[in-house]
Each structure stands twice: as structure tokens, then as C-alpha cells.
Symmetry: C2
Subunit: 287 residues, 2 copies
């Protein structure tokens, strides 16, 4: 693992690292923010390990958008939370991309799933990467507490966060999402990506569709916050929170749904409410 | 003037506008943040006009860097301050650029001066643009109080803010700068740009060099804050705050100089301390 950037930030340190991912068979970058550390923090016995929030970004983003634009470090520093932001797809020479370089397929559009179809299957295994390889790597190198992990994300990354938490609830203390794609099997972005990555048999899509997963579970007790701007241009066609809310209601799962009048899909919106999400996760991480 | 973007942000609105600049003879963009407005705010008689902070960005930036990365809107919303961020140079077809497209000359590197040399003189008149045309435009279209203006900036924009305040102290209530180029006539960035824009006669440079201006003034009573990270890679060769501090000391001018251990030149540094600057300006703007 190689450090490629480091900056002091709100009394802590903002880093970027590069490592060779076995899961994705390519070099990957991720960003990590370490708040001001108590002096006894470290890797040895008696060390203090801190709670961690994983952030999954949306279409066309890299590991940098969130750390540059959301302003999350301010409160993370105050609360003592580590923030980890992976990239949104495998990258590099030999990694398949959409021939037309569409923003919603291929590079920058991994959808946090394990692809089964050619040519994607060779590298596009973002579900395993964010569920297993990355947390294990982070745990080896940084003072995170693996028992205190939460996950959040935006748009495609909100979908990723929801799917991750619904499939691996034991790994997380809480989950939140800004403007998530709530039912990818039922919207243009999701149908395009899932058809390419998973093939036309839609039964293989279910495991990556938050609404279908929500319909199929017997219980889900993680604190779950969904944030949505009502002026988001993607709300009706692509995001469809009403489908997830209905599935949750039918299944007796409680969602803290916060609709924001006048807000759109941008990082100006995320920045406006990220503090509420950090507080939400912090409460669950320290309960 | 044409609106090209609008997002809700911390209860206010973040905008981008495009207008034809007479001074620069090209289309220009600027960003403006309006905090949540009191209901009686507006353009008519009896309206409430708000204090405004102008932000001048550094080399290679546009009007977007500050508004996307500094996180200033959060506190501006709370304090009721308007934020205005212009672009860093003229742009567009027919506007001269460095033949080698260097980041420190031509597009993105206007240095907030009025060029006298060919081919720059036709468009590169950023001093007049930020000192006169832009504030007049902003005042016509937004509820800013022209009696309550302050100015800040970063690096090349910190130089711009200092020069503007030193030459037009009656126009501002306070001035601050993050990692400013304090003595452009004495550093490589400044000497390269001034030679190109102003010619080799260095006597023409003085009016745009904060340290020389500071040495030449009889009094300067604006609150003045200089912020500097001590891990900034440009500190010794390009920024040289010690020259400005010495000139101020000799002239009996007081500078609130805040040196930040471990901080670099990035927006992670700016984001960490922008709240201190907004509070500094707010105190002067409401005194």
C-alpha cells in the first residue's frame, strides 16, 4: 500500500492511498480521514480503536469527491470518527469500459456489484471489494474498530450502502444514504448496468436491489436513514424512494426518511446535511 | 446576466452566473452564495442589504473551487453573509494564453492586475474587474450592502485581496488571506507574470506588490488577517509572508498572523480555518 497524498485537515489527517486489489485485479485508490488521534491510539496492545464510516460515491465520482466537497471532516474530527471513501469502479489499463465511455456504465460506474458477464467479470467485483477486501485492508493499517462500522453513500453509492447493509447487517451499526437509487432493477440507470454486468436473467439482480432485498428479509434492525431532496431531477425516474419505503412499511422495517424541500442531487445538498448523518451514525456507533 | 446553475445550500442558494464583462472584453462567470434571506430582503425601498465577502482564488482555479471545497456556506448561512467568487482570469476564444499553457501564466493566472503588454492588455484587466465592474454588477442584482464589503483569497488570490485592500481601503471593512503571495515582485511566480503582463520596468510592478504597497503607505487601519500553513511547500520560495510582516512592522501596521503547524497549501487547509476568517470578517462587517 502506497501513500499518494496527505494533508492536515481539521486537526487530523486526510490521506489518499493506492494498493493492488486482489478482488478487482487492478490498482485502486481510496481516501481516508483520520481525526485527531488520542495519544494512545495505534496498532499495539492497549491501543484505542475508533469508529469508522464508509462512504460510497455516485456515478462518475472517484474517491476524491466526497472528501473534497462534503465538508465531513469538520464534524468527524470533533466526534473522533474515521472516514473511508473508496473509488467507484476498478480502473486502469486492461479494465473494461463502456465503448461509448458513458458515465453510467464501466469506469466510474461499478454499482457495487460482482459482475458475472464478459468483459466485466474480470474486474468489476465492487461488492466483494467494499464488503471484504477494503475493510480488511483498512483494519490492518489504521486504528479502526471493526466492531464499529457504519456505511453511507450518495446516489449509486446510496444504493451500494443500502445493499451492503441489507445483506451484511452484522457488519454495520447503521446505514444512511443521500438520494439513493432505491430500486435499480426498476430504473433506467440500474437496468442498463445490471443487464450489462449481470445479464438478462433478472433473478440474478435481486441480490443487488435494495427494494427487493427489503421485501425479502424477515427483520432489519439497523438504524436506517434515507435523505432525499425534493428538487432532485433524478427523483422520480431513477431514485424511487417510495418503492423502498413501501417495501419497508410492508415488512415492518422503520426508515428515518428526511425529505428536503428545494434540494437537488449535488454536493451542495450533501454538504448541507452531512452533519446530521454523522450525528446519526455516531449515535449508533457509540450506543 | 444569465444564471447557469442554482442549488439549495444550507438553507440559502448557491448560484453561478455568466455575464459579458466590459472591462475584460469577454464572457465571465462568477459564483455567489446567498444565505437564507430575511423576508424583507430585496431590491426595493426598505430592503435589508447584507454584508458581502469577496473571495479571490489561486492559480489554475475558477469561480468554482472555493464554493465546492471550502465549506464556507455553512457559517455564511448562519451569519447572514453573501459570498462572491469570481474567476481567476479572462476566458474564451480570442483571449490570450501562455503558448505552453503554463498554469502560472495566462488563463487561470490573471494575478488581479491590469496588463499593459501585448497580447495581454486586451483582456487581462482583472484588477479593474474585481475592484469595480464585478462589485457594481453584484450590487445591482443582489441585496448586498456596498458599505459592508470585505475581501479574502488564497495564494494568488490572497495577493489579489491584499493589493485590493491596500489600494482601496475605503471600499472594504476587513481583509484576510490564506497563504498569499506576499511579495510577487520578489518571487518566481510573480516575476514571471509581472514581466509578461507589465513589462520589464519594475517600477510598474509596485502598485501590485503587497509588500511594496505596505512599505509605502502612511496608515492602514483595516483589520488584516494573514493565515499560513507551516508545511506549505510554496512558503519560502513563493509566498514570503516575512517580507510583508516586516514591512508592516516598520510602518506600524498591525497584522493578525496565524501560522498553522502542519498545514499545507490545499483546500483541506482552507476548509479547516475558513470559519475563523468568516468570524473575523463578520466582526468587522457588523462593527
Amino acid at each position: 500500500m502506497k501513500q499518494i497524498a496527505e494533508s492536515a485537515c481539521f486537526g487530523g489527517r486526510q490521506y489518499r492511498f493506492e494498493h493492488h486489489s486482489i478482488t478487482l485485479a487492478c490498482l485502486m485508490r481510496f481516501s481516508i480521514y483520520l481525526p485527531p488521534l488520542p495519544t494512545e491510539t495505534g496498532q499495539g496492545p492497549g491501543m484505542t480503536r475508533l469508529p469508522v464510516l464508509y462512504w460510497l460515491s455516485g456515478l462518475s465520482c472517484t474517491d476524491e469527491n466526497f472528501i473534497q466537497k462534503a465538508g465531513a471532516q469538520r464534524l468527524a474530527a470533533e466526534l473522533g470518527m474515521i472516514l473511508v471513501a473508496p473509488d467507484t469502479s476498478p480502473r486502469g489499463e486492461g479494465v473494461a469500459d463502456d465503448p461509448g465511455q458513458a458515465y453510467d456504465l464501466g469506469l466510474g460506474a461499478g454499482f457495487y456489484i460482482n459482475a458475472s458477464e464478459t468483459p466485466w467479470a474480470a474486474n468489476y467485483r465492487m461488492f466483494d471489494y467494499v464488503a471484504e477486501e477494503l475493510p480488511a485492508l483498512v483494519c490492518r493499517h489504521f486504528p479502526v474498530d471493526p466492531e464499529r462500522q457504519s456505511v453511507s453513500g450518495h446516489s449509486m453509492g446510496g444504493h451500494g450502502a443500502l445493499v451492503l447493509a441489507l445483506r451484511k447487517p452484522a457488519c454495520f451499526r447503521s446505514v444512511s444514504a443521500f438520494a439513493p437509487i432505491c430500486a435499480p432493477a426498476s430504473c433506467p440507470w440500474g437496468r442498463k448496468a445490471f443487464t450489462a454486468y449481470l445479464g438478462t436473467d433478472e433473478s440474478a439482480w435481486q441480490q443487488y436491489d435494495a427494494t427487493r432485498l427489503m421485501s425479502g428479509i424477515s427483520e432489519f434492525t439497523l438504524p436506517l436513514l434515507i435523505d432525499q431532496g425534493d428538487a432532485d431531477p433524478f427523483l422520480q425516474e431513477q431514485l424511487q424512494p417510495e418503492l423502498l419505503l413501501a417495501a419497508a412499511r410492508q415488512n415492518g422495517v422503520s426508515i428515518d426518511y428526511r425529505l428536503r424541500p428545494g434540494y437537488d442531487h449535488s454536493y451542495f445538498y450533501i454538504a448541507s446535511f452531512i452533519a446530521e448523518h454523522l450525528q446519526f451514525h455516531f449515535a449508533a456507533l457509540t450506543a
